[in-house]
């Protein structure tokens, strides 16, 4: 390892969804890899969702549960024969419970090169009012 500028990417298997609820629709479901970071104003979520188009993505926030789900439009490979299969494709699904109160109107979702960027602005907390204590 002579290259210290940037480490090499390693292969990671796509994580298949493990949940208690059974699937009724056929096909595989994967959990996307995410980065979540929080600043004073907002929470940002980045999720790797290769092959997902913006119209297939559903972002849902209710009762402080954030749900990401995406269907992948099946590509017609019927006339192609498989030689080597190293990865499978399927739907994406992941849920998060948010601890903060989110300003629902300010949510912004962008999909760029298969990466979802979700910005969830926090609701501004009322500044604590200082009460001056008078001395007698």
């Amino acid at each position: 390892m002579t290259d210290t500028q940037s480490k090499d990417l390693k292969v990671r298997e796509k994580q298949e969804l493990t949940g208690t609820a059974e699937q009724t629709t056929p096909g595989l479901v994967f959990t996307p890899a995410v980065d979540i970071f929080e600043t004073e104003k907002e929470i940002t979520l980045l999720a790797d969702m290769p092959g997902v188009k913006s119209e297939d993505l559903i972002v849902d926030l209710r009762d402080s549960v954030l749900t990401l789900s995406a269907d992948i439009a099946p590509i017609d490979h019927s006339n192609e024969e498989e030689i080597l299969v190293e990865y499978e494709t399927g739907r994406f699904y992941r849920q998060f419970t948010l601890g903060e109160i989110i300003n629902q109107d300010g949510i912004n979702a962008k999909l760029n090169n298969g990466v979802l960027r979700l910005t969830l602005p926090k609701v501004e907390k009322p500044a604590p009012k200082k009460i001056a204590v008078k001395e007698n």
Binding site: L9, D48, M49, G51, E81, E82, E86, N113
Partner: protein, 152 residues
Amino acid sequence: MIYRRLLGFPTWRFRSPFEELERIKRQMDLLFEDVKTPFQRSHAGVFPLINLTEDIHNYYVRAELPGVTADTLDIRITSNNLSVSGERKMEAVVEGAKYHRREREAGKFSRVIGLPGEINPDKVEARLENGILTVTVSKAEAAQPRQITVRS
């Protein structure tokens, strides 16, 4: 030398310790092959994972590369090897941000895939769409099947 004779394995030669490990690994792989789910199929273990398909005229090489831009990708083709290399960059960490999850990774990658047949290096197309790279490699004229009419 004596133990080898005692154990009765005259064919064993410890040319390198890794060779022996490799042999054990192969046998272990065989042993566990049936237990593996389809997703744990053996692969080269080099990023990115690749799906290779073919039809009559082309080979299709597909790889999932979310967050990789076209300008950081370097795709080269030789007589029957396709090399894909590039770098996945992450945006700079926002100052003062508190990370809750960090599962996505950045880094360089490079992979060479041997294509199973002869190809036409002049007719290669690469597309990056929604984080999926598709390289369409045209098969060589000689490798494409030709229909032969049967005369009666």
